[in-house]
């Protein structure tokens, strides 16, 4: 690899993206085709339940990617990324609620059911505009992005770092959870938003819409992965990694590290919000439980298990751990948290680079052996 290539983001993308994109799209296309066009009695038929489950994993993978971007590359351990995910989910949920129209239990053409139930007469101001998809789309990007900007600006400007920052992010998501539990907030209280009917006029329950949402999740994950590869292999990315390893040095070179950290935090929050917005139509519900600190900590475990600072590591971790979760909670529902905790301890102690790190070592080992054999010949 020549120096010019080493410092060219496009070259890095050409290097890294094909394997990832091939794996991702071959899986998603295969599953989609097997769902839509393979008859149900065939052994190759993929059920719509599985499609939705896979779509959910892809949303989690995007969330893991967003955490890896800040944690793996910049050393900002956010224990509150679930907040951005849930906010993205709520903006999408609000749109889906407005789409219900007069088909709700109470048949009110304007007000969602829970508002009628609470005897509200008018739509609150912050629900205005959410009947338009484009409005909800921009709100999905703007609301979490703005929160991340304000939070990041205050925290990074005051040079809060390390474990203190982690605790603050945790407090942020906890505070939001408590707030969203309140009925007066106007987001459905502890029931959250559910009973969605359509998205963009298409029935959410139909197989085709399920598959379309699944493919959208895959596309967004692919786009976010490629964007992150480009960003992290630019000079900007090297500044970010410099901040992780020696922030003072970066400052004395003349970079405003606060600006860099805030911008990266906002980028990451927007990725998490997109993941949340894709998640909600697929699982059909968003409630304040998504803000639970435990959820955010789980994301960090996925990234740690997969291997941080690699982009694809977090994605692999999210999919594997969630697959294990689906399996385990079906067999031993009560033991899952112990398994998750044990997994985290095991990975931290024995695989500091995560599963991806093991694979990398294996590859080195293979290559080394091969070269020794070559010498032997």
């Amino acid at each position: 690899m020549t120096l010019a290539n080493q410092f060219s983001p496009l070259h890095e993308l050409r290097n890294k993206a094909p394997v990832f994109l091939t794996a991702l799209f071959s899986m998603t296309l295969f599953a989609s085709v097997c769902n839509l066009w393979v008859p149900e009695d065939s052994a190759f038929h993929v059920s719509t339940y599985t499609i939705t489950l896979l779509g959910k994993y892809l949303c989690y993978a995007l969330l893991a990617l967003s955490v890896d971007v800040v944690w793996g590359y910049c050393g900002i351990l956010s224990l509150g990324h679930g907040a951005f995910f849930a906010l993205g989910g709520y903006t999408m949920g609000m749109y889906l609620m407005r789409q219900v129209g007069d088909r709700g239990v109470y048949g009110n053409p304007l007000l969602p059911d829970f508002m009628v139930f609470l005897n509200w007469q008018d739509l609150p101001w912050f629900w205005q505009g959410f009947d338009q998809f484009w409005f909800a789309f921009f709100a999905t990007l703007l609301v979490p992005g703005l929160l991340a900007f304000v939070f990041g600006w205050l925290a990074f400007r005051s040079r809060v770092a390390g474990v203190y920052l982690s605790i603050m992010t945790q407090a942020l998501t906890y505070a939001l959870m408590l707030a969203f539990f309140r009925n007066e907030m106007g987001f459905g209280g502890n029931n959250g938003l559910t009973d969605f009917k359509d998205i963009l006029g298409f029935n959410l329950q139909s197989d085709r819409v399920r598959v379309a949402l699944f493919l959208c999740s895959a596309l967004m994950l692919a786009a976010a992965y490629c964007a992150s590869v480009l960003i992290m292999s630019s000079r900007y990315g090297r500044v970010i990694m410099g901040i992780r390893d020696a922030e003072a040095r970066v400052r004395f070179i003349g970079f405003k590290t606060e600006t860099y950290k805030v911008s990266l935090f906002v980028y990451s929050a927007v990725l998490a919000a997109i993941a949340g917005a894709l998640y909600v139509p697929q699982v059909g519900i968003i409630n304040p439980g998504e803000f639970s600190p435990l959820n955010s900590i789980e994301v960090v475990v996925w990234v740690a298990v997969g291997g941080r600072g690699t982009l694809y590591g977090g994605i692999v971790g999210a999919i594997l751990v969630n697959y294990a979760k689906t399996r385990f909670t079906a067999i031993f529902p009560d033991q899952w948290l112990f398994v998750l905790g044990a997994l985290f301890v095991f990975v931290t102690v024995f695989l500091p680079q995560g599963l991806v790190g093991v694979f990398k070592d294996q590859k080195h080992w293979l290559f080394r052996r091969k070269s020794v054999e070559d010498v032997g010949e």
Binding site: L3, F7, S234, M241, K256, T259, Y260
Partner: protein, 278 residues
């Protein structure tokens, strides 16, 4: 080396360096030949006076050595000049007009004040080449770094600095894999490539072999004139080999200033510093 040249050939048509790079430095007004004014500077940490009414004037192009026992305030002084620590009182001016107090570390660095830390601080997870690339004197805002590409001028200056610091054959190695002395050199290289007006160098030869120390001395003396260099060092032999003017700090203020021989014969200095550490 051939690879570097080949790449440079390939990038001949690369974009020109951003306009305005270097314009900050030209604004420094040194009409009185003094580059750095430090006047009446006091800093205290929890009642401990790290700096006490300190006055220091550094001429443009000078090579100045700061010596003093542990706790004399040398590193605190550098912290104040580079914007890391806010003083309780006093003034720090860069040239005639630029007030350094109240500026951030990044702003001060962009004005052309470079700093090497006591403990070598490089980006250990990145290559030697990438370390130098980040330290280059280029646009430092987010948008510029997102789209930045290496120009042939950039490659030239990196390769020039790699020659100076003797790390050309290791340009592709991770900085974390370098020896302690090599990390010190890399950090000095990161200062050089930023082309600063004023270099603050904290203990450059700590952990270096005698040979490396000698090369460092040569390098620093060769820089004087073109740049202003302030060196903090404990190694008296090293200070003797490079210094024209030495400033002795003691308990946060200047105890003596002059040539090395003047300093060595100064009874106050002998008492508080040289006496303890012959």
């Amino acid at each position: 080396m051939n690879r570097l040249q080949a790449v440079r050939q390939r990038l001949r048509r690369g974009p020109a360096p951003p306009l305005g790079a270097g314009s900050d430095q030209e604004m420094v007004d040194i009409s009185h030949q003094v580059l750095l004014y430090v006047e009446g500077l006091s800093v205290s940490f929890d009642g401990f006076k790290a700096l006490n009414e300190l006055n220091l004037y550094i001429n443009d192009g000078e090579l100045r050595c700061l010596i003093g026992a542990n706790g004399a305030g040398k590193t605190t002084l550098m912290d104040v000049i580079t914007g890391k620590t806010r003083p309780d009182s006093g003034q720090v001016y860069f040239g005639q007009t630029i007030d350094l107090l109240g500026k951030t570390e990044a702003q001060i660095a962009q004005l052309g004040v470079g700093r090497k830390f006591q403990k070598p601080t490089v980006f250990e997870q990145q290559t030697v080449f990438a370390n130098l690339e980040l330290a280059m004197r280029v646009e430092k805002n987010i948008l510029a770094t997102l789209v930045a590409r290496l120009s042939s001028e950039n490659l030239d200056s990196i390769s020039e600095v790699l020659d100076i610091i003797g790390l050309k054959s290791q340009h592709d190695a991770l900085a974390g894999a370098l020896s302690h002395g090599q990390k010190q050199w890399l950090e000095i290289g990161m200062l050089l490539i930023a082309d600063p007006r004023l270099m603050l160098v904290d203990e450059p030869v700590a952990g270096m072999t005698a040979q490396e120390t000698e090369r460092t001395a040569e390098l620093l003396t060769s820089l004087a004139g073109k740049r202003t260099v302030v060196v903090v060092e404990h190694d008296m032999e090293f200070v003797r080999s490079i210094a024209k003017t030495v400033t002795v700090l003691h308990q946060g203020s200047v105890l003596a200033e002059g040539s090395m021989s003047d300093i060595q014969s100064d009874p106050a200095v002998i008492e508080v510093y040289l006496g303890e550490d012959p």
